[in-house]
Amino acid sequence: MKIHCCQIIIFILFLILPGITSTARSADIVVVQNARIKPYQTALCSFQATISTIPGRYGKTIQPVQLSEIYLPDMHGGKSLAREILRRRPDLILAMGRKALAAVKDFQNIPIIYLLTPSLPPSLSQQANITGVEMKLSAAAQLREVRKRLPQVKQIGILYDPRYSADFIREAETAAAELGFTLVSHQIKSAKEVLAGLNDLGSGIDLLWMAPDLTVATPQGVEALFLFAMENRIPVLTFADKYLQSGALLAVSFDIPAMGDAAGILAKKILSGTRVEKIQPVISEKVKVMVNEKIAARLKIKINPEVMP
């Protein structure tokens, strides 16, 4: 009698198991990248680490995730990319970079998360299946880091093009006032005006702030800026660590692993069943601070040792 009962239980389990396994099928995520660059890889690693433990839809199993990467330079046109995405039928698309987001925006039935994508067009931010991590570096955050590390700085000079950085300057002025800085700003309209603008700022400033501005941060603008800084022995605050080797003293930039984590959390929510239109884009407040000690030594600037990274 016992043997018959066991046989019946095994038979029932045999019938049920396929149903259970179907609920725990792996989530397919396609990662579309602009290019093979290190920041993307760093962010993707963090993203991958965050989504590796996505709970199943019933909250009882760990849902495996399969990531497949697509590099835009490898694709021969939009049709090729579309065929590839349709073939894979992903549960989610992670777009890294503006071009990647523009390339996948037409897949409106698939949730899309953008990451490391600056200056998102408003049309895309309104699209229902798109959410992501905003790439906005807060002026206040940068100034706070300056205050911590360079307490001797009082007057900060900044060049900007109002077409790109009007909001940023407004935020900067507010933050500067709050933190006790005097912000000397000068408008320019082209990169040719950088040199003259710097001369207008004069050598009385304590810090030259390089704004994330497409007019100021051109190669010629950067060169003029660092030449001016070198000639007048003024330290430079910048927004990306790549300028440290050009002569910047302090770089307050995005924390890319944190942005990858934030994107991973968004992906978890989407794969757990939350509708995309209910998930707002997020801003990663965490920043990364780097100091060029050689420049500090050359300019004889003392960095507050308590906050040395």
């Binding site: 970079g97 490391l116 040719k192 040199l195 051109t218 190669p219 010629q220 927004f239 990306a240």
Partner: protein, 566 residues
């Protein structure tokens, strides 16, 4: 001798001429190489000046790119002044992309006596899109124009933050720089090179002249001494041209050499002729000696043969006399026996008749002869039969003795025969017929007769006897079946009869003895040992030869050689 005269005459001397030739050659070569070297140096100096000017122009273009981009004169001043501070830089000018002059400076203190080139002439017209440094060589200077480039300013927002992968910034030409460099430095350099080269060439030529003079003097000293000896020998006292004297001396030496060679050639030819003659004579002598040697060898051989024949003949003659005497005595004795045998046979026949009659009578009287004789165990008939057998044996022995005697008489030439012409083939055929039972069904006779064989003058009976002896001997030498080849041929008036058997051959040790009388290898009673001896005697009697060739196991070949007119 007056030293002045020596100095005046030295250029005409042998060593003087060599020295002048060498010195002139060196001078010309030095001048040529110097000119070539100067030309090369000039080219190198020009290239170096151009290269330096290009470098300065490109360096200036790189330095002023920010000032040109911003069209900021203050930014341009410092680099332009720095370039202008360089030696021989006469003018520096900076242009924007459209060709508008942004900044220009000229050398204020110009030491050059030449007027400065006018800016319009010197400056290369600014063109758009030049992508490399250009050079224009002016009468008074070099003008260089280098493009001022900068990276393209269009950027994507990402590029603000990240360094793009495989970044390939496109270069944009935003203006140009022009530098005018004076030719003074080049001219000074060329002058320096010329001066140095000519000084070096002069020093070199002076040293070379001294060295050449010493070497020529040393090298031509034996020649000078030779010339002195030649002059002494020729009795020349005045100072003549060395080369003329050498030419004459050389010509006369050549003539003498030619004469000497001619004499040597003549002597050589004569000598060769004499050697050839002597060689021919020697060869002839040698041939004669060889011929004489051959003749002597042949004569010696013939002499040996003749000696051998003589000894044999003497031996045979002595033996013949002995045999003739013995044969005569035996014949007489045998005649008694053969003469008595018929009478004895008749007597024995009569005795048998008498005894038969006695026997008949005894039968009539009832007794037998046996009883009468008292010798019962002797039968007279049997006794008579034995007597008949004994008589037959005596008769046979007598006949055989007679035969021996006859052969002995033949051997000792007791039987003479007249010579007549005989067909040798007929003789051979008749002999073969006679001895047919001897070889029938056993030996194959192969005949190889020369049909042109001439009849031979001989004693046919004796020659046939020779054939009989040789053929019988050959057949007896073949133990079972075999072949016997008879061949005839004729040459030089002689007939050759060759009889060859396939028998057992003759042992080498017996070969010299087979013609000896009574020598035989047959069983006792089978042969007398006289056949070959008689044959030898008969052939010799006919002035012929009998030869034997044999190899044990491979048969024997007899060759009879008879003169056609024997």
């Amino acid at each position: 001798m007056n030293p002045l005269r020596i100095i005046r005459q030295w250029p005409a001397s042998f060593s003087g001429r060599i020295f002048i030739s060498l010195f002139l050659t060196m001078l010309i070569l030095a001048l040529l190489f110097n000119m070539l070297f100067i030309d090369l140096q000039k080219q190198l100096l020009t290239e170096q000046t151009i290269s330096e000017g290009k470098g300065q122009a490109e360096l200036l273009a790189y330095t002023v790119r920010l000032g040109v981009f911003a069209e900021n004169k203050e930014q341009l001043r410092l680099p332009v002044e720095a370039i202008l501070a360089q030696q021989d830089v006469l003018r520096v000018a900076i242009f924007n992309k459209e060709g508008k002059m942004l900044f220009a400076l000229e050398q204020q203190e110009n030491d050059s006596t030449e007027p400065l080139p006018a800016p319009d002439i010197c400056l290369i017209p600014p063109q758009r899109n030049i992508d490399s440094t250009q050079v224009k060589i002016h009468e008074n200077g070099f003008c260089f124009r280098a493009p001022v480039t900068t990276k393209n300013t269009s950027m994507s927002p990402e590029e603000l933050f990240f360094e793009p992968e495989d970044v390939a910034w496109s270069e944009e030409i935003i203006g140009s720089v022009q530098i005018v460099i004076s030719k003074d430095r080049l001219t000074r350099g060329i002058k320096t090179i010329l001066t140095r080269n000519f000084i070096l060439a002069a020093i070199f030529l002076a040293l070379a002249a001294m060295t050449t003079f010493i070497i020529v003097r040393q090298a031509t000293r034996p020649m000078e001494e030779l010339l002195i000896r030649v002059k002494k020998k020729a009795g020349i006292t005045e100072q003549s041209q060395d080369f003329d004297l050498l030419n004459k001396t050389f010509a006369s030496l050549i003539e003498e050499l030619h004469n000497s060679f001619r004499t040597i050639t003549g002597l050589k030819l004569n000598l060769e002729k004499k050697v050839a003659e002597r060689t021919a004579q020697l060869s002839q002598r040698h041939m004669e000696l060889v011929e004489t040697n051959q003749k002597l060898t042949k004569t010696l051989t013939e002499l040996k043969k003749a000696q051998s024949h003589l000894v044999q003949s003497e031996k045979m003659a002595s033996l013949g006399q002995l045999v003739a005497g013995v044969a005569h005595e035996i014949n007489n004795t045998t005649n008694f026996i053969t003469g008595a045998l018929p009478s004895l046979k008749r007597l024995m026949s009569g005795l048998e008749t008498i005894l038969s009659r006695y026997d008949d009578l005894a039968v009539k009287h009832g007794e037998t002869v046996k009883e009468n004789t008292g010798k019962g165990d002797h039968d007279y008939k049997k006794m008579l039969t034995d007597v008949d057998i004994l008589l037959a044996n005596i008769s046979k022995g007598a006949r055989r003795t007679g035969n021996i005697v006859r052969e002995l008489r033949q051997f000792s030439r007791l039987d003479e025969e007249r010579k007549k012409r005989m067909d040798i083939h007929d003789g051979l055929e008749s002999t073969l017929t006679f001895i047919y039972p001897e070889y029938r069904n056993r030996i194959e006779i192969i005949k190889n007769y020369d049909e042109t064989l001439a009849p031979v003058t001989c004693m046919p009976g004796k020659i046939n006897q020779v054939f009989m002896n040789l053929l019988t001997n050959s057949m007896q030498a073949i133990p079972g079946k075999g072949t016997l080849t008879i061949r005839t041929r004729q040459d030089y008036g002689r007939v050759h009869i060759i009889i060859k058997d396939s028998g057992s051959g003759i042992a080498p040790e017996n070969l010299d003895r087979i013609f000896d009388p009574f020598f035989t290898t047959k069983e006792p009673g089978v042969g007398t040992g006289l056949g070959l001896s008689i044959s030898y005697t008969i052939i010799k009697e006919h002035n012929g030869e009998i030869l034997v060739r044999s190899e044990e196991g491979n048969g024997t070949e007899f060759e009879i050689i008879l003169p056609v007119n024997g």
